[in-house]
Every structure is written in C-alpha cells, then in structure tokens.
C-alpha cells in the first residue's frame, strides 16, 4: 500500500500498484465517509481494475477527512484517493453532526464550509422533492430557473412559492395558434414501437467487471472457430477414491472435490495432446511447456479465472488445495492481478449449480476450455462376467469447446476419450 505524508498528521491514501500489468483503477465504492474513523488495514474502498476487483486497505489509523476521487472515476496508479488525519481521536462526532457550527439559527441555511476542511456538501440542486415536482407541474414551471436555498442548493417548497409569487411562471404566455390544424390525417400514426410494448424498464451502468467480460466474450467468439465435443464419464471409481482420500485431506485442511480429479486428468491429457495447451498467433501455433491451468470462479457480479501456474507439478492434493485457495480469495477479492493472467487452458465447473450440458466460450488466447457439469445418478448399462445389466452410477458430461483453427474433431475426441478412460479406470494415476 503506497501512502505519503503531506502534513505532520495527514496521510494520503493512493491508488496502489496491483501487479505489473495494472496501470489504473476505478473507484467502485467508498466504504467510509468523511468524518469516519478508520483503522489501519481496514478496507476503505473498493477498486476495480481491468483484471480484478480489490479492496483497498487503509494505510493508517485515523479519521477520513477528504475523499478526492468519487466512485466511477478511473485514475492512474499512485493517484491520491483520500486523506486521513492520524492525529484525530476515535469517538469524535462527525463535523456535520456536531451542533456547534450551526448554533446560530438566524443565519439561515449553512454555507458550504469548505474552508474548514469539511467534505464538500452534496449537490442537491437537481433533486426535487415530491411537493416541488407537483407544484412545478401544476404551474408549468421549469425548475432549472428556480434558485434553491436548501441544503446543497436544493429547491425548497418556499423557493418555488417565492418564484411563483414573483410571477416567474407567467413569463412565457402560450401563443394563440394562427390557424387550426385540419383533423384529416393522411396516414395512420405508426404502431407503437417495440420499446413501448416492453413496458417499464430500468437502466443500470454495467460494472467494470461486467464490461470486461462482455468484451472478452464477444472478442473470443469473433477470434476462434468454436466447436464443442462432449463425452459422458462414469464417476463411480472417482467417487470411491474421493471417499477414501477425503477425510485424510480434510484433516490437512484440503477440500477434495471432483473438480480436482478432473483437473488432474486434464493436466495429464494436455501433456499427451500439447496442441490443446497452446495458443494461436497469426499463422503460428505456440505450444506451451507449462500447463497454467485457469479455474473459472463465479462471483456475485461476474466471473473471474485465476490461474494455477505449472499445474503439471502438482499432485491431486496440491491441485485441490490450489483450487480451494484461489476460489476463496477470488470471492474475497484478495487475488493479485498477476494471478488472473497467463493461463494456457481453462476449466469451468458450472455443474455445481446443477447444469448438465454447456458450450463454453474459449478464454483467449487459449485454444480450448473444458467444462465439468453436474455429476448425477443415471441408469447405465454395465457388463459383468459377460452379462449386461442396468446399474445406477454417478455420471457426468465433460464438454470441451475448442478452436477448429488449431485442431480437428478427432484430436479433441481423443483428448476427451483419454480423460474418460483415466477417470473411469485410473490409468494415469
């Protein structure tokens, strides 16, 4: 956290350096308002970058005196965002809560006390109360012409009444029409537009993370020749293995999920099929030695793909631990921006929500994305001692979207078939 002292007791909060590739950040929300007491390392605001959302911890304990950058503004790394007074004591009232500055009631509405270092008053000059709106409608007044004397320049009811008394409304008398319009209409009015038929709507600015996802997804659809191949996998053996290993790993603080098994076999399959651990640059295919495995994590307001670097070096338990760690930190907004870049292959796991099939979009510049869907009990045909029978097994689909520019369907099918065999029969373990 970078901060600098500009005064003996004033500490600046500035936009931190959040990884090598991040040059700027957008303030999403201030958790504190001017006058609030903030403890060192307590989250003071939320910042969104083009990679991730992070919480900015306070550099020191003190009272937040000024907010310099408002939510929605994007500023370069190092820009001062706010000021803290570290000489203040906890428990003091907010400046605007203390009765003393406005003890003289005859002085009318308070002036903006900017010289005392208080936060600037919120501009309410274009906020109109219900009664002001109604009266303005009734008298045909353009409220922009009424001077407000309430807080933040708000137009008070009395302001509007004074304006009306001064004859403000009568300024523009309606002109008598020169001639009467013929009632004949040569054409019918066009039918109501689709927009009218939708009914009432609500508009909301996309969050920065939403904007990023939207752009990346559309870019990927345009860049790659998407194709999806699906295999069905019997998870009976994995379910048994998981039961055997789970408790011991839990004691070591690791949650062994089905996803970890699939990730382990995906890494092994990528080593057998390097064209899927690759990217395309121009007319060249770039093969990557390391498997940097991206794991898609659903967030409240979007999606983020943290990366497990050199996943080929990790055991099943190592992968399970890494997945758990990244998912937790992603949801808590504690990822480092460098941790969401440099992936070579991605696994997504919406099956946890019960979905059974999907055709995911490739995470550029990779060439494939593997999708683990819900593992559900299905009746399957099993063969035992030459006899066929119906049994109930935990089954799931592995769906992989791949780039037809880099490979063909046979390769994708072989990749998935290898994973299926390994998961069902334990070949590569």
């Amino acid at each position: 956290m970078s901060s600098s002292r500009t005064d003996s007791s004033i500490v600046e909060v500035s936009m931190p350096q959040m990884g090598v590739s991040v040059a700027e950040g957008t303030i999403v929300e201030w958790r504190k308002r001017p006058g609030d007491w903030v403890k060192a390392d307590e989250p003071i605001c939320d910042v969104s970058t083009d990679k991730i959302d992070v919480e900015i911890p306070s550099p020191a304990s003190g009272r937040l005196t000024r907010i310099l950058i408002e939510p929605g503004e994007t500023v370069p790394v190092g820009t001062p965002l706010a000021e803290l007074d570290t000489a203040a004591e906890p428990g003091e009232a907010h400046p605007e809560e203390s009765p003393s500055p406005r003890s003289d009631p005859s002085s009318g509405p308070p002036d903006s006390a900017s010289d005392t270092g208080e936060a600037p008053e919120v501009d309410r000059s274009s906020f109109y109360s219900p009664v002001v709106r109604r009266l303005a409608d009734e008298h045909g007044v353009d409220l922009g012409r009424v001077e407000g004397t309430g807080v933040g320049g708000r137009v008070r009811k009395v302001d509007l009444m004074d304006f009306l008394e001064d004859g403000g409304a009568k300024e523009e008398p309606e002109e008598r029409p020169m001639h009467t319009e013929s009632p004949y209409q040569p054409e019918l009015q066009p039918a109501a537009s689709a927009g009218d038929l939708i009914g009432p709507t609500r508009r909301e600015q996309m969050s920065p993370i939403r904007t990023q996802i939207a752009r990346h997804m559309l870019d990927s659809r345009r860049a790659s020749a998407h194709c999806t191949t699906i295999v069905e996998v019997d998870f009976s053996r994995i379910a048994r293995r998981r039961r055997e290993l789970r408790e011991a790993m839990a004691r070591r603080g690791v949650n062994l999920t089905y996803l970890a098994f699939v990730a382990r076999e995906a890494v092994a399959a990528l080593e057998r099929h390097p064209v899927l651990n690759a990217s395309i640059e121009g007319e060249e295919i770039v093969y990557h030695d390391q498997v940097n495995l991206g794991i898609a994590v659903a967030l409240e307001n979007g999606l983020i793909v943290p990366v497990i670097r050199q996943a080929e070096r990790l055991s099943l338990e190592g992968l399970a631990a890494a997945i758990g760690d990244l998912a937790t930190r992603a949801r808590e907004k504690r990822l480092h921006p460098d941790e969401v870049q440099g992936g070579t292959f991605t696994i997504t796991n919406p099956g946890q929500f019960g979905a059974v099939l999907a055709t995911p979009i490739i995470n550029q510049p990779q060439v494939a994305i593997l999708d683990l869907e819900a593992i559900v009990k299905r009746p399957v045909v099993v063969e035992r001692d030459g006899d066929e029978a119906i049994a109930i097994h935990p089954m799931s689909y592995l769906c992989m979207s791949w780039d037809h520019r880099a490979l063909d369907g046979a390769e994708a099918a072989r990749f998935l078939a290898g994973m299926k065999r390994a998961l069902e029969e334990g070949e590569s373990e």
Partner: protein
C-alpha cells in the same frame, strides 16, 4: 378554571367522575390506604371508602381480570399500574380478554388502565418505559397520551365514560413539572382529536406526551416558524390533523420518548408517506429513544432519551433542508 399540576388534574378527573357516577371505582397496588405510589389517589379512601378504592395484591393480571369482570357486570373500573412497565404481567387479560370481548361476544368492557410511563429520573430499565406501542398492535384498545394538565383531566374523564378498554399513559416526568389552567368540575376532551399546540408554516413537529413540551421549547428557543401538533390520542389516531399539518408545511419531524422501531412515530410516518407524499418537501424524520433498554446511569439515560438540544438540532436540520 383552576391551576393544577398534571398529577392534580388526573386526581381531579378521577374524583369528579367517581362523584358523578357510582359505578366508577379504582383498583391497584397501594392506592387506598397509602394513596398510590405517586399519590394520585391520596385521600380517596377517606372520601369514597375502601370498597371503591381497592388495594389489590401485587398481581397485575388479577387487577385487569377483576376489572374486566366488573366492567362486564356494569361497573366502570379504573386500574392503576404502579408503573406502566408492570402491565406486562397483566397483558393476557388486557389484550386477549378485555380488548376482544366486544368483537367476540358483543360485550362492552369499559375499563381504564392508568399507566405511569416514561423516564428521566434514573428509574432504570423496569421503571422508565414508554410501552404505548405494545397496545397499538392490539385492535380493541384505545391509547391516550395527554401532554397537558387540561388534557390529562379531560381525556381521563372521556376514557372513563368510553365503552372500550382504554390505556391511559400518564408521563411521570410531567406529573409535577407541568401545570396549567384546568376547567373545574366535569370536563371532557374528545378522544381521537389532535391539537395544534403551536401554529407554524415552515415545518411540523408531531409529538405526544413529554415530547410535546420538548418541541414547544425548541420552537421558542429557535424562534422559527414551527408548527407543533400534539397527538393526544394514538388510537384512534387523528389522521386528518396529521395530514393537514404535513400538507401545510411539507416537512415533518415526529418525536416521541418511546423507542424507535415500530413505534407510534413509524405509524404516523407511514400514514404521511402514503397519503401526503406529493406534499412533502423533505424526508420524514423521527426523533426517538434508540432501540435500547433505558439505562439507570444518569449520564447514559440522558444520552439515550431525546433532549432539548437533540430536538433543536433535528428542527434546524429539517428547516435547512
């Protein structure tokens, strides 16, 4: 007219009604021989006899239950809770029996339950509450909260004559501190009518009980054009008077000493929000005790109960809005 304290006005109402109507009698803890914890019924036993000023055991459910039975038989009992807080022990007879008998069986239950309420004297959490909201959630009860000596007398007399069970909240802080001209002899004030205690046009303070005095003092101290509406009755609520003042000033502060959540102020705010939205020029504000038990410690009690400075500040903010 005679000048009386709020407490003397309550005694006067009781005495006048007991003289007027033989069916009126009082019952409660230590109200006879001792004259009541606050001396409201001092001298009553001598004038009316022990049969009409009944000393009861410390059993509030029995007090309210006995009164309900007597009322069914044609009497007009006036129960005294030693402190409003203790009505909790008499709740079942009050809210489940007395309040619902007319609805269930068409039987009128003309009882009055006098509830000495309010804090400000280090009474601690069991002797300082303003429990009016408990009763507002019970259809079948009327709830009165007089602020002046004249209303204390007039509303108590009306409560005694009313055919419904009535909760009469008398603020202990007003007992000896508030005095005023009170009509002598029979005097009633209609139930369900608010009173404009001070005319104004810039903003309205809607208050009842002790908060009315806080509002009047603040308005005088600030010397601003503030209207003060004294609700007098919380059930029935004088919606007409509330809306008229809200529409007139467009700015409303609702003040009461009772705690905030689901208090009478919330109901008043809801009414204004529903019926007078297009006349509002500012958010509806409330000045109440926060949602905490009343502390025993004097500085802590002062900190939670609304004080004159709090009222002035709340008015200033709304005026400046």
């Amino acid at each position: 007219m005679a000048e009386m304290t709020y407490l003397e006005a309550i005694s006067d109402a009781l005495r006048t009604e007991m003289r007027r109507d033989e069916s009126v009698f009082c019952l409660g803890e230590d109200i006879g021989a001792f004259g009541g914890a606050f001396k409201v019924t001092d001298g009553f036993a001598e004038e009316f006899g022990a049969d009409r000023v009944l000393d009861t055991p410390l059993a509030e459910n029995a007090i309210v239950g006995a009164a309900t039975g007597a009322a069914i038989e044609g009497m007009r009992p006036v129960c005294e809770m030693q402190f409003a807080d203790f009505i909790a022990c008499g709740f079942d007879q009050l809210v489940n029996v007395a309040a619902k008998l007319h609805y269930r069986q068409g039987v009128a239950v003309p009882i009055v339950v006098r509830l000495p309420s309010g804090g400000g004297f280090s009474g601690g959490p069991f002797h300082s509450q303003n429990p009016e909201a408990w009763f507002l959630q019970t259809p079948g009860l009327k709830v009165l909260t007089p602020a002046t000596a004249e209303d204390a007398k007039g509303l108590l007399a009306s409560a005694i004559r009313d055919p419904n069970p009535v909760c009469f909240l008398e603020h202990k802080g007003l007992y000896r501190h508030v005095r005023g001209e009170v009509p002598e002899g029979e005097h009633t004030v209609p139930i369900g009518k608010a009173r404009v205690a001070r005319e104004g046009s810039e903003m309205t303070v809607i208050a009842y009980g002790s908060s009315v005095h806080l509002a009047l003092e603040a308005a005088e101290a600030l010397d601003e054009d503030i209207e003060v509406v004294d609700l007098r009755s919380l059930c029935p609520l004088d919606g007409e008077a509330i809306l008229a003042s809200a529409r007139k000033t467009g700015k409303v502060l609702i003040a009461h000493e009772a705690t905030r959540a689901c208090g009478a102020g919330a109901e008043v705010a809801g009414l204004i929000g529903e019926e007078a939205f297009e006349d509002l020029d500012a958010p509806i504000r409330r000045l109440t005790t926060p949602d905490v038990p009343i502390p025993f410690s004097p500085p802590l009690e002062q900190a939670v109960l609304p004080q004159l400075d709090d009222m002035k500040e709340a008015c200033r903010e709304l005026l400046a809005y």
